[in-house]
Symmetry: D2
Subunit: 367 residues, 4 copies
């Protein structure tokens, strides 16, 4: 579908979508990824009071390469509380805002597809990595908003956790997880904008990110957990984390150590990782990479500057797979924190909703 | 002792010292640290064939801030094989050179104080971190060079290991070590010059350093080991490592996880770390910091740009001391890789030799 | 033309092309830009002795993001002296090699399209920026190689000069140039690989690049010069340059000050810049951007991380257009040094050759 | 004077000094430079409302290497409006605050030594670079505050201008200035803290700093101007500037082009630069470097990481002195922007005040 000669809105058969928190770092990435999307068209943008009533291009200090996409440039920014018309609301608002705003939109019958932490651990809210636990999507039927007006909240995990859960899922399925230790080297874009001051970032390591270790220790258990009548029973393994901020633009690197319940050879582990696919691949979702995990054999990969854009940022790259003297296996994992780890994760969740027929519109085929 | 009006060599009572591999990154740091040293004066510099016969200032592409110290500038570079007159030879040559050259100087009766890996694991060679295992120095008496001509080889560990061994030693003594996992974020200066190409370093993480993990898994056992009649019995704990290169100039950051043999509270652990001292402190060696380990309470420290120069680069800074769900305790450790981790380590070893009276000269008091 | 199901070589109607110096930084960029090119297919790669006989993917330490393109991966690297079969030879060899090798291929009847400095200033060799001086291409008919076997050498300028010449050409045409001063802030990729050591680049500025100022002061005169029977008469304006290397990956920034022969308003200057096009646009060459120069109105642009990829790296971005108290006008210019400034420049030259019908094959239309 | 055993305040013969705006980037540098100063002791710190009543160490997010100096750590932060007891007030407040606050302290009889732009161009306020125009200090006698209560405001220039004025002054004196063009590559610390977001700084160049070019075009004329009965007559030369922000921590690099009134050889120019001294050297002020300008002969210097600390950051380093095809001479200049360009500049001004006997206390000799 050409961006140069877009269909007039009335004729565009794509599903309208709203982005709330659209002027922030993750919101911008959502807007960017929606440009030219075969199923969705960006129809509404909402942001904080300061931006309301302005054109999106005037309200936004665009931090991504290139310019604001044509299809968003002239949209008028509305309040995050405003009643939206799109059936799907991508949310990139701060947690403090999400606490009240996301339920508001859900209660109005919208599908709120959120990147924010507020409801990730709520018992009836799916915390989705579609390749890993798309069955958890069934949780939405237990949400009161869904029962009343058809709306729901679904969430994607923390940016580190998206990559980690994808790397751990095939091992968990095939061999069982006993214990995991993760040390992260996280990119600057993970802190948003203005985010980390350059005097802190430049040539430095900061061994702390507020609240991050807690999320990384909490979320994987739910994602890899078992869906039951009584909710998700968290996967039973120990996890220990240390986070670091490093002067990298995009791409969280994770040094991962894993103790398995059942011993496995490196060849078996590699096979499990490379063979890993899920419902997004089966459904052919537009943002689903054919092979979600790429395992590299070179001893000095993955590297953010070389590998972060693999699969348009939706692939998790793993390297340095090797035995470990304390655990069983260790490896290095790279995830694009604002694509697969945030905006792309939300978008894949939205695609899953559409493909499953949950949203009250028909998906259209790509041009 | 003023550098502006140095004593003529004949009157300078300081012990002459030679640096071999003097034009490389670690050699330069040795030359830099020797400037104005109260006990030693740099008397000889040796380097590869290309540099021989040149003035040190002409042979060296100086990579440290400021200029080449006055006292080294005009020295003539000699061959690394040349018979040297100084009783102590600081060695920063490559391992391939050290294999043959260090024994050569030892066999001529010199104390070779080496930063190179070649002889670190040799049974009768001390692998010293003077605060930790200065008793291992006694090993030199078992060296054939020592018995024949009085010479010997003593070594300091890998740059990561110096910091790690210092952080682990007080825990090992007080509580016993069961298992250790370390993930490193290592500085560019650790790769020497020209070292890492900027296109690899800039905004990137490289999850590999050739041979590094092997050293880090091998050396701490010997350092923390027990000196017996039959040699050093390595300390008995498991260790697992993943290394990363990050775009930091100086200072290796280490995320460390420790399982102890005997449970200990965080307060006990902190007390053990902060109270840690050794023979260098007892002897008042010039390069020995009063408190070798500084524990910081802020949650975002240590940071290379803020903490690496603590104690003139000879202090190991530890922060984020906290309990661990898989191990017992975890923390972040920072060591100045070319000072405490290399050139300063060698110099402290040389000071120990002098203070112990092993070198056949009398130490002089500082001016 | 899909890369996934490429035509067998025999059926592929695209013109085969050879890249010599294919394993270096610019050579890699050439290989990368040729992937999926509508008119050309990479058929041969040549490099230094060390690489000969190896598969391109084994011989090359690939430094660009992503992987080596499929169509080059399995090519066998041949000697730069080997007789090639492709009618066009893209050259990215070092000047020391180019001195002998480029004439060799020209003498065998090949069109050597060179990025190297060796023959840029030779009287009968076109120094081309196709938007600026495509008429200079006629110079090839004066080359002895052309007369004898049909071969020729054509060149593109230094990476800074490509951008500068594009920015100056419309001003020269419309108002005349009196004097120009340029200060450059050049990217690391301009030094190739391994290029600038990270300890020199990290958080630093290096106010020198060997031979660079000479090229920047020499080449624009020829490019903007007048083609006559007696050769190119250099454009008559003074130029003064200071170069700096800065820790940026891709994109040379240039602070430019211009004194014009005829006074012009900022509006006239902006119009001249924005309206600038040339033969590549007229011919619709595949690598020709529709608008070669983009003028931005924001006061803090162009910036390498935001603007360098504009027009797939083939657009020159100009900003901060403003009057100058000493000269007449000043502005900041950004050029992608390895695309528009090197590999893309050569490729555009090759496209021009093909479109002009100089190469003895018929151009094919894009799939 | 040892920091370890400081004299009790009552016995400390050093002149008490106040720092207002003490918690900001320049204020911190002032506090840092005052630690152990032979003539001054920090006695009072003032900052914005948010910090008042707190201990300085609690109110300050310290961004310099190491820790807050002992002598400032426990000072209680007061309001910038509070009546201070120290005779000298170093001011690092924002211009918006300085507009009202600096006159307030001057009107109370204090010497306000300001780094802020507010009063730099006021006719009766000296804009001092003590080596260049210490005679302008006489202007204070024309200030109404001085006449009434003895107080006065003296200022130092913009950080770029300090270095530039020092480089131009000897040329202006010896040969006369006709025109100057300057392109800057400015460090991140010049923007204070939090200052430039890392996503803007990382691997990037920003060709704009708000208000900076205006200051650089305005201030040098006054500094190099002639003091007369009617005020300072600005030096009569044209100046043209383009600024850039680059990812360097400390140290502004300036590419400078100079047209002289009287022709001079490079040797004469070099001699003028190297021989340049002024009243600070004659008086032996503690912060005055013996040789204010160091000219380096290597073709790749000055560099921020190698040269910025020369003379404890108080020396201006010049390199790449060479003839220019458009102007007469060009060179690269490096100034430590927060030391010689800001906090150190103010401190040198304060020392000059004391040495001249303007402050109503006797200077004491260094311990």
């Amino acid at each position: 579908m050409s961006q140069k000669h877009p269909l007039p809105d009335k004729l565009d058969p794509r599903v309208p979508i709203a982005v709330i928190g659209a002027t922030g770092a993750v919101g911008q990435r959502m807007v960017s990824l929606l440009a030219g999307h075969p199923w969705f068209r960006i129809a509404e943008v909402a942001a904080s009071e300061r931006s309301q009533g302005k054109k999106y291009s005037d309200a936004t200090r665009w931090i991504l390469p290139g310019d604001i996409p044509e299809d968003a440039r002239d949209l008028t920014v509305v309040s995050v509380e405003e009643e939206l018309s799109s059936p799907i609301v991508l949310s990139a608002v701060d947690a403090s805002v999400a606490d009240e705003i996301e339920p508001l939109h859900a209660s109005r019958g919208k599908f709120v597809v959120s990147n924010t932490k507020s409801f990730r651990m709520k018992a009836d809210v799916p915390l989705l990595v579609p390749e890993v636990n798309s069955d958890h999507l069934a949780l939405v039927e237990r949400q009161s908003w869904r029962k009343e007006k058809g709306g729901a909240i679904i969430t994607n995990p923390n940016c580190v956790v998206v990559g980690l859960a994808m790397g751990l899922a095939p091992l968990h399925r095939a061999f069982g997880l006993e214990a995991v230790t993760v040390v992260t080297l996280q990119a600057l874009s993970g802190a948003g904008y203005p985010g980390v001051p350059s005097l802190d970032a430049q040539g430095n390591v900061i061994p702390f990110i507020d609240g991050e270790e807690e999320k990384i220790e909490r979320e994987p258990g739910k994602i890899l957990g078992l869906l039951t009548e009584d909710g998700v029973i968290p996967a039973d393994f120990k996890i220990s984390v240390a986070v670091n901020r490093v002067p990298v633009r995009d791409g969280h690197t994770e040094s991962v150590f894993v103790k398995l319940k059942r011993k496995a050879s490196l060849a078996e582990i590699k096979e499990a990782l490379e063979g890993f696919t899920g419902e997004p691949q089966a459904l052919g979702l537009p943002f689903a990479p054919a092979q979600p995990i790429v395992v590299r054999g070179e001893n000095n990969r993955p590297q953010p500057v070389r590998d972060v854009e693999t699969g348009h940022g939706m692939v998790v790259t793993i390297g340095r797979l090797r035995p470990d003297p304390v655990y069983d296996v260790r490896f290095t994992l790279l995830v694009h924190n604002t694509v697969r780890g945030a905006a792309g994760a939300a978008l894949l969740n939205a695609e899953l909703l559409l493909a499953r027929g949950l949203v009250p519109v028909a998906p259209v085929s790509a041009a």
